[in-house]
Symmetry: C2
Subunit: 147 residues, 2 copies
């Protein structure tokens, strides 16, 4: 059976959010939260725009998803995010008890796994989905920053 | 010289926020952020009220402080919080580069130190300020929950 709504499909939607962030002069990270094959929330890094160091793509998406669903827990949802979450966002994922996290590129500097942080024990994690596309966006941002 | 604005003074302000949270049916945790002896932001746990698992006292206070100061970094600020921050809130403190964290009671279940999480290397941390008052508020909440 054809499965059009696979991990790559939703990661492409998260990458579109990252592209908007890049256009806005932000470190390009994007996220979507999916429940029963439907996107219930989107987020993109807005640290500069909102002048708020906590305004990561995932944080904004978590709050948007809980608003939309009317539930503070996201047990039946999947977070798609273009970069491995940091300690803060992994902590938020813990509290939301999100069912699954799918991320794109690894973050060897600030990623929660490299910092040996936790997500909820029931949360399943898949990394490396469309990682190259995510890395290319990040590289183009940092190249532009250096110029 | 008399120093009226000491750690206990500001922790009492954070405890007042925790008391409001208790009154609202929330786990009683409160926070204030102080810059040059002035409170620039307050926050109290609003997870139930906002139906958002990320709405911890510290998170709300960080965002309020950056809004008020117009700066995403809080290097010259001190966070007073009645309970040891969790992984998420310690991660937010990391990104804000807050100068100092003063907390009340230890959180042996979810505290960032017990989870071996990080704050910014330049952030100074003091624990145990009015810890008994914080613990009493938490105990009264959980006692009421069990009834």
């Amino acid at each position: 059976m054809i499965q059009p709504f696979d991990d790559k499909y939703f990661m492409r939607k998260a990458l579109q959010e990252a592209e908007i962030a890049l256009f806005e002069g932000e470190v390009p990270v994007g996220a979507v939260i999916v429940c029963q094959n439907q996107i219930v929330a989107k987020g993109r890094n807005q640290v500069e725009t909102l002048n708020d160091a906590t305004a990561h793509a995932e944080m904004l998406a978590f709050t948007a998803a809980t608003n939309y669903l009317g539930s503070k827990y996201l047990k039946d949802c999947t977070l798609y995010v273009t970069l491995e979450p940091c300690q803060m966002c992994a902590g938020a994922a813990f509290w939301s008890q999100i069912g699954r996290i799918v991320y794109g590129a690894e973050d060897k500097q600030r990623g929660y796994q490299h910092w040996q942080c936790k997500v909820h024990p029931k949360t399943k994690v898949t990394g490396g989905v469309l990682a190259d596309e995510s890395t290319k966006l990040l590289q183009s941002f940092f190249k532009k920053m250096r110029q």
